[in-house]
């Protein structure tokens, strides 16, 4: 029991101190940029009504989900193909190195040329393209790093290429795929916001910038907090999925380390 209390104390202690400091430090603030925390909290329910959540937050998250999903599927398919063929790998390596190194926000002006930026298409393409490279390259690396014993065993048992893919290659690569997907997710959130800052738009990022332009400062702060909460929730959700799907791998690593 005391151990549990101690653990909660550690977990809650610093956040409580920081929030209290923010609360009292800003209590009598007359600086328009740093409104009192109490004001921010008061404006929260009136700003983020159900209507606004439906109109701004859900579409943003839907675009993120679709773009991220496309990137995962395309990244795994292409990554496995490239990883399995040395020729294809040598052929595509410098090109992929370049595309990986291009900072994803740079894609926005290019995609704006093709698809325009008022609809969903341009935004989804931006998110998907930005998320693709980390997943693709990690998949390639994962396939390359497969345990040779495993692949040789599968070959000598004459597993068909399809079964080899499903039972040996993909599970063996999955830890790396998750590493790539985790990087991709944080890039996806960045692109979700940035893609809404161009042109007249609705969406979470657009709403926050709208508040800022109209000097609705407490509302802007609530937007920043909502965005932060979404980032934290997505990271937590990702961890849950990862722990479930990679349970075998995480457990194995724990045994290796002798924990």
């Amino acid at each position: 029991m005391t151990r549990f209390l101690k653990a909660t104390g550690y977990a809650v202690g610093l956040p409580a101190i920081l929030l209290t400091a923010w609360w009292f430090g800003s209590a009598n603030s007359t600086n328009t940029f740093w409104p009192p925390l109490s004001t921010i909290i008061e404006t929260f329910p009136t700003t983020w009504t159900w209507d606004r959540i439906v109109a701004d937050v859900f579409p943003s998250l839907a675009r993120l989900g679709i773009g991220f999903g496309i990137a995962v599927v395309v990244g795994i398919v292409l990554g496995t193909a490239i990883g399995l063929s040395p020729t294809l790998r040598a052929l595509s390596e410098p090109v992929l190195e370049f595309f990986r190194a291009v900072p994803p926000p740079v894609l926005v002006p290019i995609i704006a040329l093709f698809a325009g930026y008022t609809g969903w298409l341009g935004k989804i393409v931006t998110i998907a393209l930005g998320c693709l490279w980390p997943i693709l390259l990690n998949t390639v690396e994962g396939v390359r790093g497969l345990e040779p014993t495993l692949t040789d065993t599968a070959k000598s048992y004459r597993l068909s290429p399809w079964r080899r893919l499903v039972f040996v290659v993909l599970p063996g690569t999955s830890p790396r795929i998750f590493t790539g997907a985790r990087q991709a997710l944080s890039i996806g959130v960045i692109l979700m916001v940035i893609s809404e800052l161009f042109g007249a738009n609705r969406g979470l990022g657009a709403a926050i910038v709208q508040f800022q332009r109209s000097f609705a400062i407490p509302q802007m702060w609530t937007g920043v907090i909502v965005l932060g909460l979404i980032g934290v929730l997505l990271a937590a959700l990702f961890k849950v999925v990862e722990n479930r799907m990679l349970a075998w791998y995480l457990g194995q690593r724990q045994i290796d380390r002798g924990e």
Partner: protein
């Protein structure tokens, strides 16, 4: 009797292994060059034949013509310098802060437990959430980009350094204690060598993220630099220039990656992970 064949056999083996390796490496090189050429030629034909509207995708030759024209102009070098400077300052600050705090928090168990929930919470907050705030505070001044770069790269560095400090061999730590090393000496000769590979990973990850945020700040907020020029080129419909700037920024990204890998190899020449790669 039996020893002579066995002494003869080993030298033969590496030769067999080494021979196909060298042609293979040069074959990979040629394939890589071929891959780049295929992409460039493909884009050129798509545009020339009109399969893709040349207004959206100009011929690659036109992009490079625009690029070479830019190389002769003052604003281009000015913008390039501002971008690289903003990236370097933000990254350096994030590294310094992340390493210092990581060493302190990581070596004091109480601090580690006390801060872990806060770090886990603050880390996934996307740095772009700060964009409206920095616009209000600094407008289009370079400080806007600095705050975004610092915030994004700092967490990458801090978390890696914390892992690194936690990885210190307990035997080494206890040995240092029984030799009565002071805290500075422990940090320098016990923690630092263990954490160095992690610091290098932090540098690699942080460098890439810092560039993303620097370009974002220039593109979205209008901080001076290549990103801002890119936004201007796009909105004034100068399509070949837009692509040329994207190519330049991409090449900066490649250079950043190569630099990070080079620094990693130089700093970790003694480390088993690098040594096994070379041998």
């Amino acid at each position: 009797m039996s020893s002579s064949p066995s002494t003869l056999a080993p030298p033969a083996r590496p030769r067999v292994g080494a021979r196909p390796r060298r042609p293979r490496r040069s074959r990979d090189l040629w394939l890589g060059i071929a891959g780049v050429l295929i992409v460039l030629a493909g884009a050129e034909t798509l545009s020339r034949t009109g399969i893709v509207n040349p207004d959206f995708l100009p011929p690659v030759t036109a992009m490079y013509a625009a690029l070479f024209e830019m190389l002769g102009e003052g604003w281009f070098w000015e913008a390039l310098w501002l971008t690289v400077r903003g990236w370097a300052i933000g990254l350096a600050a994030a590294m310094a802060l992340g390493i210092a705090l990581g060493f302190v928090i990581g070596s004091v168990p109480f601090l580690r437990k006390f801060t872990s929930s806060t770090i886990e919470f603050l880390r996934p907050i996307p740095s772009v959430a700060l964009i409206p705030l920095v616009i209000l505070l600094f407008g289009t001044q370079p400080q806007s980009a600095f705050v975004l770069v610092l915030y994004a790269a700092f967490w990458q560095v801090l978390v890696q350094v914390l892992y690194g400090v936690a990885d210190v061999d307990p035997v080494a730590r206890d040995t240092a204690r029984s030799y009565q090393f002071g805290p500075i000496r422990v940090a320098r000769s016990v923690i630092y060598p263990t954490a160095l590979p992690y610091i290098m990973t932090a540098f690699r990850l942080g460098a890439a993220v810092a560039l993303i945020l620097e370009i974002t700040a220039e593109l979205v907020i209008g901080v001076d630099g290549l990103g801002r020029e890119l936004g201007i080129a796009q909105s004034s419909n100068a399509v070949p220039e837009t692509y040329a700037l994207v190519i330049v920024i991409g090449l900066i990204g490649v250079a950043v990656n190569l630099l990070a890998r080079f620094v990693e190899r130089k700093a970790l020449w003694w480390h088993p992970s690098v040594r096994s790669e070379n041998s």
